[in-house]
Subunit: 163 residues, 8 copies
């Protein structure tokens, strides 16, 4: 099972590769393509149909401003769709957040933080790990590493004036 990552514009590629990085760390296969909900609606549908036919199990879609892409992806598949609202433009991502998360009943989009591409990758891995115990183990190890890193980083900035 692999993850299909769709981004609304090539200018979103830099942020969205954080999702790729998270999937690489977990050893989850993925494919990332550009398809605009507004400028190329036919291509967008085709990318989704092709991905579903070729075994994609989870979709990640990232877009900014009136970010319709995640919702449009969700309208063409019943696979889980993860939406990443992206900052950009005058309203700095709050427009994208509302446009991604406030989906009407029936068609959910699993929304992460504004710019939260890395978490989109981790969430996709968590979903796939339900049927992949070795991946699940890697996720648990990653969590342990994160906790250890917190303790390590704390050492660098700890201060005490207690006697």
């Amino acid at each position: 099972m692999w993850v299909c990552i769709i981004i609304g514009s090539d200018s979103d590629a830099e942020v969205m590769t954080q999702a790729c990085a998270a999937l690489d760390e977990m050893g989850v296969a993925y494919e990332m393509k550009v398809a605009s909900a507004h400028r190329s609606p036919e291509r967008t549908k085709q990318v989704i149909m092709d991905a579903e036919r070729d075994g994609a199990g989870v979709f990640i879609a990232g877009a900014g401003m009136a970010a319709h892409l995640p919702g449009v992806v969700a309208s063409f598949t019943t696979k889980p769709v993860i939406g990443v609202p992206l900052a950009g433009g005058a309203l700095q991502g709050i427009d994208a957040l509302f446009a991604v998360v406030q989906m009407p009943p029936g068609i959910p989009v699993a929304t992460v933080a504004v710019g939260g591409a890395r978490n989109a990758g981790i969430l996709a891995a968590q979903i796939i790990a339900l049927t992949d115990e070795s991946l699940a183990a890697r996720l648990r190890e990653q969590r342990v590493s994160m906790a250890e890193a917190v303790a390590q980083k704390s050492k660098k900035v700890e201060r005490s004036t207690r006697q």
Copy 2:
């Protein structure tokens, strides 16, 4: 030339009929249908294609929450698309406003106020009036009537303590 009005849910029909009323007053033909960008993407595309083939000149689309419908309509036609963000849900229409108006470069949606269905109808009439001088005249008369109504209404609430 007629106006194709698409609404995302039958629960939006009541507000959106204010657009119909405005068009009726101006003698502009229209058709109103329900088509959801998310729950029925194929139908939405079909309604747009059929309308364009049958001579629709302007589209009006109204939706609430993550209101993708106007943008989706705009992605399938190069005719002018008027978007009506609708209040509803916890965020009371600010989500719909951002999701309708913040379209990316290339695919505009002519957005009116939250709940501004009547103005959507008038704007559609203004667009069609560019090639219909009698409609243009009716719009100018309507404007004169509005100004007179202001003066009439003023009389009811005017107060003065000047000597």
Copy 3:
């Protein structure tokens, strides 16, 4: 595989049972309990640990105001966690939305709309359907039904003045 639904307060039960209803329609097993991130942190951890031990595959957590519950659930499991921000209090859910969706890198919460409990249920079913083809089929049928319902509802409110 079943879904563990945790709500921050019994006053949230009414909205959150929409998630139960969605799961019932799909034939997905679930358990719903109250556990407050702030008033009963030990119980919250215990409910999560017990659920994970007993085979829960997906968590849904709903809370209002400074809605920490979904994030706290996510801190104790690497299973997918779906967060439902709930309206309530003076800020009407925007506080809950930010507190649920803006998770830092490393610990994702799959956030749905403010009050979007039904979509949380559907999303959980979509995730489980990745390994349950009959469930996947039911989700596809539900989607077809939704599209048909749009066409049916359209008939009730359609209007036309075209000749």
Copy 4:
């Protein structure tokens, strides 16, 4: 038929020339002038009156902060008025967006995104294209080009780890 572009301040000229560029690409004639709704109300009215007398078919007005210019233009004409809210000042354009889009019933302003001058130009072209089939064809071609550009740009950033 030509487009009258009015900007509230010469400091807005740079952003607003994106509307000019869009019209140049489509071969639509236009004229751009500065007229402040607040500092030069008489001039503003005169520019509108002159433009209407000389055959302007669509107005585009851009302004920032308490952006009254589009609404003031709309108060003096029944031609379609496109409003462009501009970022600037501490509130970064949300003030301009509300001041442009939230017009009361009777006097619509077709609002585009904050800073969306390019889309204002395209929307004006779409309106004029209703009576100019060769312009309509150019708009359709532009849309095809946009879709092709998406596919081209995708190639540059596509990544795949599928086997």
Copy 5:
């Protein structure tokens, strides 16, 4: 010297009469009329010109949504203009607040709270009191009364469990 109160719609009369009440209490003369910035721009200008010719010293203008009226009044006079943003519509007055207060350099509007018609009346009286010592004395007495009322009201709700 009298106060010219202009309201954008007769539906705003009820709230705006709180300004009249405040002026009545202070014995300041006023006149209240309806004039819409958008539906009756000529009338609006005429009301302002007439008022200025007839000795109005201060203007109060109240409007909702894209509340341009106070700014439009300020564009036609150099007398002080007090703006009252009014709640109404989906955005509940925040749109009106931004549209009234965020005036560009050169043309100020003295803005009071959303719905703050009473304070608009008091502010007008404070301005006129600069050249009317008996009015100034009444304002100071009103302030003393307000302070006494606070002490009186405190008695009704005071609670103590101190021993």
Copy 6:
């Protein structure tokens, strides 16, 4: 040591008595008075001075709209000041929240949630409990009760379809 509760208006008394209730439960003495930062600045200062002289250890101040009262109290004492922003008016408490919490460096106000009077009472008790072990014990017992109540309430709404 007792708690001095100051409210900006008698209309705020109902909400603010939730602070009294919390203090009653904990057996902490308090006094509640009305004093407006704007309408009775002298009285406000006097109430603070008197309270400090008479041994008040913590202040709680609640106010709505441009809620200056907590900050004004903090400007006259170096005792801890707890601020309660209150909903009311068109902006529903977000104005009060910003006006209470965004204090400049040097003069803190310990802010609780909009309408969070009960938490203000509990916070005051927590502060006083630092030197009152029996009060500290009561707070710990209250916390245990809260956790038990969560478990009790869970029983009423728990649902399970697990086999």
Copy 7:
């Protein structure tokens, strides 16, 4: 009659000197001092009392964040008080705007735009001009100059492709 300008911090001096500049242009006398509502409440009151005794007719107060200064000034005088919310801090001035403009009934603050110090100066001049005909004439001339400047600036950026 002169204008008393009070700023909450010396770091606000740069922005607030735009009010001085506006008053200098109009030949209106003023005095600018720093007095913090929170860090120096006694000094603030003293500055206001001294100013009123020495003939100040209008107050201008500028502050950022929880900007209480204008409201505190208004609590100590019945002269007109103009408030300037200043950007600064994470919330970029929206906090200051709400804290300045949302004054409760009885104590108005004439609020200008965020950072609108220049308009505060002009508004003060407009108020004083009610009893100073030569100042009133200068204000009218300034308005004429502003309108002419708009026409001049337009020439620099005008573009036309009309034939």
Copy 8:
């Protein structure tokens, strides 16, 4: 009695050392550690338990985005907890503010301004000063110094054109 400062990430250390500086000035002992509510929940609980056992009297917790740390600290102690919402990410701290301050009834967090680490330190000192008269005296002296500094700084920027 000492203050336990917990920060959610080492990247928050720079801002949060302003709390340390304020405590250093007052001679209050403290200890600062990193513990993430989400990445290291066990460590977070341990740090709190250890601190409480070792005599910490007040907790300060700072975090950004969905800032759960202060609320999580408050869930494990009945000592006063001061929360510092930190700017960062696309929403610039408004997300952190809501996530920190909007705590549900029963578990208060004493919230200071976005980025207000210095005030968190002062507030902690004010709380401890209730049982430390020499600390209380230092706080009063600091307040006097602040007031004097205002007067000194005023001298640098004062301007007057009064004769």
